[in-house]
């Protein structure tokens, strides 16, 4: 009887401790969100989303070009990074047990630990110097280099999780191995891969350092890939380190915009995932 009371007491104590730790973990996140929302909402308006930045002191202005820039940079990065990353992941999972596979895996692990500013320097050295100008391409490449290693490793894990019995079932139907990998295995792992992709995009959208000396910044609208481009993160950086009060306000608002964009992208994808999961599972 005493043992039972003791056990119950320990149970309650540990539960309380875990709950406390959850609070400690979530509290900073919550307070961060609260801070950004409360400080940023003041500067939000429709024009903030669509207008170009204005010089100091002038009223109005917005981060329209930065939103477009971030979208295009991330979009270009995905164009390169997604096929490369997912492809590498599939290769590592299906055929990555030999020496070449081990080398690729090692490279991916090393790269995923490299600081993002170093990646930026690499992109500077490769693209900016060659093109003799800062450009959207350089920025996109830097972001892609950030996305690929983690995407590859996540994809590999997810593909390995697909039961071997599914592969066997497909092969036994007389489906060639490459088609099995693509249209059966990949399709089964698609849900998890989508999550990994979202995470990669969110990270790319939130990077500042690699963009500082690749895509630089731009005060005007730009859709040409060979020109410097504005991005939300760099714009926030510029506004934040300035000595002007109204620019600080703009920094908070721009941060809120970035959070909203990434957050809604996440939500959209989760909804899409749930719909496809409901169709394929339940």
């Amino acid at each position: 009887m005493k043992a039972l009371v003791l056990r119950r007491a320990v149970n309650v104590a540990v539960t309380v401790a875990c709950g406390a730790m959850v609070v400690f973990a979530v509290a900073p996140l919550g307070s961060l969100l609260w801070l950004v929302v409360s400080k940023g909402v003041a500067g939000l308006s429709l024009s903030f989303f669509t207008a170009l930045p204005t010089p100091v002191g002038e009223p109005g202005g917005g981060v329209g070009n930065a939103i477009l820039g971030t979208a295009m940079l991330v979009g270009l990065a995905c164009l390169v990074g997604l096929p490369l990353g997912i492809g590498a992941g599939v290769f590592l999972a299906e055929r990555g047990d030999g020496p070449f596979g081990r080398a690729v895996r090692f490279t991916a692990e090393v790269f995923s630990g490299v600081p993002s500013i170093v990646i930026g320097i690499v992109a500077y050295g490769i693209v900016v110097v060659a093109m003799r100008r800062f450009s959207m391409i350089a920025g996109a490449l830097a972001l892609a280099l950030l996305m690929v290693p983690t995407l590859a490793r996540s994809t590999e894990e997810l593909v390995r999780l697909v039961p071997g019995t599914l592969r066997e079932a497909s092969l036994a139907l007389g489906v060639p191995a490459w088609k099995t990998s693509l249209r059966v295995v990949l399709r089964t792992a698609a849900g998890g891969i989508l999550t990994a992709v979202l995470l990669a995009i969110a990270r790319a959208a939130g990077e500042t350092a690699p963009l500082l000396f690749t895509s630089l910044n731009n005060q005007y609208w730009n859709v040409r890939p060979d020109q410097p481009t504005a991005s939300l993160t760099v714009q926030i950086f510029n506004y934040a380190i300035s000595p002007y009060e109204d620019w600080h306000q703009k920094a908070w608002s721009a941060a809120l915009v970035l959070l909203l964009l990434v957050g809604s992208l996440n939500l959209l994808a989760r909804l899409a995932l749930r719909r496809s999961a409901a169709g394929g599972r339940a």
Binding site: S170, A172, L173, G174, R187
Partner: protein, 252 residues
Amino acid sequence: MNGPIKLRVERLQARFGDHHVLRDVTLEVPASSVMAVIGPSGCGKSTFLRCLNRMHELVPGASSEGGVYLDGEDLYRRGVDPVLLRRRVGMVFQRPNPFPTMSIRDNVAAGLKLNGFRGRLDDVVERCLRQAALWDEVKDRLRAPATSLSGGQQQRLCIARALAVEPEVLLMDEPASALDPVATAKIEELMHELKERYTIVIVTHNMQQAARVSDRTAFFYMGELVEAGATEKIFTNPTEQRTEDYVTGKFG
């Protein structure tokens, strides 16, 4: 049943690296019959089955020698495409493995769709589901996910999927071992119907099941084919002492 021979195996050997798993197996399977392959765990019966549709060689380090003749044609001859071969020799596995992201209909049609079939899939789907004795249970929910079916239904779905590519031989690796007795009985009844159009080779560790469903039985022990013959003879008066001992429960 004493008709033409569909599958002939001649001096088949199989290895995993240095491990010699099958030795000198020679066997004939008549067309439109059911051959049961029995034996204790580790005797090589699953390996044998996988040699028949060349899935054994997909395991890294695996190798095999000898001949497997389908209608007289050597499946291991140079130039034979294993992928095409597997459309003539289909396989159903121990645990039901429908594709989880696809509906019932898409699962049955998977073999065809993935291989570029362009005809009317719905007819094929219905035909195969009827052959697998599953049509009546699922005809109103063909778009439902395959994973919403019970274990026994999923296994029949896998059988329908295998039948959709119109194989000549159906290999079954302990198809009912993960199912309850009622589902097992349905699968056994199914085999009875299917054997009119297909030749079936079933691996089972359940001797009573082998006795119920098969026309001929082959007993494997430690990689060797000990005895093969009419099922009735194997279970009432086998020739080899080892067969006698296994069948009466003296070991294994």
